[in-house]
């Protein structure tokens, strides 16, 4: 760890100074790393952040944190959260990506992923007085414990945990000349970020947006869509009310959007709708023009077993619902953290980065972002662990 004997260099010194935070940090590098590293040498085994975030929770670079600065009702069961991220947040995300957010409920952090609804360069907005903010929109799901909690009562000022923006459902820059968005319900949220980005950049091409909602009151961002429709000649919003007209039939596509075959498509909404769209586009031989986003909340977590991916080891294994992840990993030749298999030692704990697992002791389900004990966890569908 100390500078090697092969000679002194500024880079070597810098690396030496940054070493303590490089070991513990997960939030990415910041210009302050050298200083933090130097300070870590006197606060060992803690990091300076362990003290800093006592003063202000946002001053933790060990993990991303954010403060909710505004909660705006969108519909009766949906809300926009405006969040001020703490140290180390990367604002260079792409419109359409989602972030992980952890909310403290009754002493326990719950993780979910939500699409960002703001454009990446939002900070210039006069409304925010130069503050660098992000926003997400959350729709309460009947079975969604956390989404209901967020929509019905997270006060401004609440501290949340954040995970860096990610996801491949993104709009390229520059955008294609002809675009079609097909969304339903809260599937509008990633597309909202795309629309706002196009609008901000003054580069709205030929965009048609077909959005389904049950009633006019259920349309998230309805007012904004209407306003954009009027202000931007390239943008056409087509609203479809399923309460009156039933489900949007893809057979009507030729009528609503005669040139759909010529358009690059982004679709987001309930699973059956996306499955149908995928079939439709595949049948037309246009599968490569289609981009689809499936929300995690709707992924089927009742499955037994699946493919377990061991991310760092770069291996995977097919397992049933009775094989523990520890066994699966050892079987696949991954060097798993040592485990005693008695459920008491906690030496086999790893982070679940994707998918769901189930705790064999009590049947409790864990989802991405949770730390799990591999010795007592089985796969509930495909999942990825950080080993």
């Amino acid at each position: 760890m100390a500078s090697k004997s092969g000679g002194f260099s500024v880079r070597g010194l810098r690396e030496w100074l940054e070493a303590p935070v490089a070991e513990g940090g997960t939030a990415g590098r910041t210009p302050l790393d050298t200083l933090r590293g130097a300070a870590a040498r006197i606060t060992t085994p803690l990091l300076p952040d362990d003290y800093a975030h006592l003063i202000n929770p946002l001053w933790s670079a060990r993990e991303l944190r954010g403060r909710i600065v505004e909660v705006r009702k969108e519909t009766a069961d949906a809300a926009t959260l405006v969040i001020k991220p703490g140290w180390g947040f990367d604002f260079k995300f792409q419109p359409g990506q989602y972030i992980g957010i952890g909310v403290l409920v009754d002493g326990r952090w719950h993780w979910r992923s939500y699409s960002l609804t703001c454009p990446p360069d939002w900070s210039g907005d006069p409304q925010h007085k130069g503050k660098r903010l992000i926003s997400i929109a959350v729709k309460a799901m009947p079975e969604g414990f956390l989404s209901s909690h967020i929509v019905s009562g997270v006060p401004a000022g609440t501290i949340v945990r954040l995970a860096a923006p990610q996801g491949g459902f993104v709009l390229p820059d520059p955008a294609p000349d002809k675009v079609l968005f097909v969304t339903a319900g809260s599937g509008i949220t990633p597309v909202m970020a795309m629309l706002r980005t196009l609008d901000r950049r003054d580069t709205v091409p030929d965009v048609l947006h077909i959005h389904s909602a049950r009633t006019p009151d259920d349309i998230m961002f309805g007012e904004e869509l209407r306003e954009l429709h009027e202000r931007r000649p390239g943008f056409t919003a087509h609203l479809h009310l399923t309460g009156e007209q039933g489900k949007f039939a893809l057979a009507d596509l030729d009528e609503v959007c005669p040139d759909w075959r010529a358009r690059e498509v982004w679709a987001c909404g309930p699973l059956p709708m996306l499955d149908e769209i995928e079939k439709h586009w595949a049948a037309a031989g246009l599968a490569d023009k289609l981009h689809v986003e499936r929300f995690e909340i709707e992924r089927n977590a009742t499955a037994e077993g699946g493919t377990v991916t061991f991310a760092k080891a770069g291996r995977s294994a097919e397992v049933d619902g009775a094989t523990t992840l520890l066994q699966a990993g050892e079987g696949a030749g991954v060097r798993m953290p040592f485990g005693c298999r008695m459920g008491i030692c906690q030496t086999c704990v790893v982070t679940l980065t994707e998918g769901h697992t189930r705790d064999l002791r009590n049947g409790k389900e864990h989802r991405a972002g949770d730390k799990i004990q591999t010795c007592i966890s089985v796969a509930a569908g495909d999942c990825t662990v950080e080993v």
């Binding site: 993990e63 002493g107 040592f338 008491i344 030496t347 704990v349």
Partner: protein, 484 residues
């Protein structure tokens, strides 16, 4: 030999032990399902308080050339180190707060303010010690490899230095633990336990991790902080060393009170071989000891004053141990099991007595490993006859039968007392054994006294006889001389 059959020792049937296990499971579930914001607040406030006390202590030491500042700073730093070590480091690394799903307060990320790495400690302590608690040759915490803490271990001449070794262990406890954990990890990984100043070709991961951590710790307390205080560097250095010493002594005392007072039993591998979950619980219960502590002392000991509860539920949050202990005591009453506890002073003195007693070779000691104060076994009950048992010759019988045969034979005499309707188990058996042993001793004394009296009488008669003979002999010799 230590306990080979916990059923026979506890005077409980397999069904009893199973239902005891279920009741303990229920206690665990009740706590788990009631964890919430209040508990989370407890640990967060503890962390904040610890950081503030430590920062205050370090700051005060800038003025440590003045006596009051030195004393205050050292005291604050000692308290901070003790809280960090016991209530935070130990308990968080046990996974007690993993349920919060907070990466900053999690067993996988917490690094403590001790010489050893948290990772090596977790492997040695959470795994070896908590799984094999008090099993001879399996639990390395039994004497930490340098003290002979049970008569089951053979005496060696080196044990004579035990009183001194004990002092060293207490003063340098963090180093003892660190080296102990390092060698445990090497053993688990199949790495030969070469010297920890290894030549280049045997530099291995555990050694590297150990020296990296130990180096950082030593640098912080003995170089960086003293240097930062400038002219006060000497007094700061002294303060840091003192705070480490105080923390070491306290941690040592708490840990020795948890497993080494009389009544904390030891077990053999035979017991472990086919152990059920219920028996596992029972072993943790009988292998640990508590000490009485109010809220403040409980907090400063990381709630390890509730060592029994901690060993039953090592990953339940420590702030819940007091309430759990009430329920565990109720279970002990119900199953007539002992609940080993006493004042901190008493518990430590018992451990202290064992350390010094066992420094001596066996032939100087009275009891055997079946009925010594620090180790007993189910055979303890076999050599004595209790009012509730038929008289029989235990040791001969045991030579031919297993302990479980003995249990089957004598089961009818335990179970529920026909008069009171209460369960009669280990606790009653222990009391009766104590009484019986006392009676036996009194009886033996009586026999001895009588034998002595008989011998004395005999001696008296013989003396008288001899005197008489001598007198007669004297007369004879005089007569002979005269005639000659």
């Amino acid at each position: 030999m230590a306990i080979t059959d916990i059923k026979a020792f506890a005077h409980l049937s397999a069904a009893d032990i199973e239902s005891l296990g279920h009741e303990l499971d229920t206690i665990r579930r009740d706590v788990e399902s009631s964890l919430g914001a209040k508990d989370a607040k407890y640990i967060r406030r503890t962390i904040a308080a610890q950081r503030i006390i430590e920062a205050a202590g370090r700051a005060t030491l800038f003025a440590s050339k003045k006596r009051w500042a030195w004393l205050t700073g050292t005291a604050l730093l000692s308290v901070a180190k003790i809280i960090e070590n016991m209530e935070l480091g130990h308990n968080i690394s046990h996974g007690q707060w993993d349920w919060m799903n907070d990466p900053e307060i999690h067993s996988t990320t917490w690094e403590w303010d001790m010489t050893g790495t948290s990772g090596q400690w977790k492997a040695a302590h959470n795994y070896s010690h908590h799984m094999y608690t008090n099993i001879l040759d399996m639990d390395d915490d039994l004497g930490f490899g340098i003290l002979r803490m049970t008569r089951d271990e053979e005496w060696k001449p080196i044990n004579l230095v035990q009183p001194v070794a004990n002092l060293f262990l207490a003063a340098l406890f963090e180093w003892g633990i660190a080296l102990h954990d390092l060698s445990a990890q090497k053993e688990q990984m199949g790495i030969p336990p070469t010297s920890f100043f290894p030549p280049r070709h045997v530099v291995n991961e555990p050694n590297k991790a150990f020296w990296r951590k130990a180096g950082k710790q030593a640098a912080k307390d003995f170089v960086i902080y003293p240097a930062l205080t400038g002219p006060a560097w000497k007094s700061t250095l002294k303060a840091n060393a003192t705070a480490n010493l105080i923390r070491n002594l306290w941690a040592y005392a708490v840990i020795f009170c948890g497993h080494f007072p009389d009544g904390a039993e030891k077990f053999t591998e035979e017991q472990f071989e086919n152990e059920t979950q219920g028996e596992w619980y029972l072993r943790q219960m009988l292998g640990s000891a508590n000490f009485k502590a109010g809220p403040a002392m409980g907090f400063m000991s990381g709630n390890l004053s509730y060592q029994i509860e901690h060993h039953l539920f090592p990953d339940l949050p420590s702030n819940r141990y007091p309430e759990v202990s009430v329920k565990v005591r109720e279970l002990c009453d119900k199953y007539d099991l002992p609940y080993t506890t006493g004042s901190l002073g008493k518990q430590y003195l018992l451990a202290f007595r064992t350390i010094h007693k066992l420094a001596l070779p066996d032939q100087w000691l009275k009891r055997t490993s079946d009925d010594a104060p620090e180790t007993s076994s189910e055979r303890k009950f076999a050599g004595i006859s209790l009012p509730s048992m038929p008289t029989w010759n235990g040791s001969e019988w045991l030579a031919e039968h297993s302990a479980s045969d003995w249990l089957a034979e004598h089961q009818p005499h335990w179970g529920l007392d026909p008069e009171t309707g209460e369960r009669r188990g280990l606790r009653s058996a222990m009391q009766e054994a104590k009484v019986a042993l006392k009676e036996k001793a009194a009886h033996e004394k009586q026999v001895l006294r009588e034998a002595k009296a008989t011998l004395q009488e005999k001696a008296r008669t013989e003396t008288a006889l001899l005197t008489e003979k001598a007198q007669r002999g004297g007369w004879l010799s005089r007569k002979l001389r005269r005639n000659g």
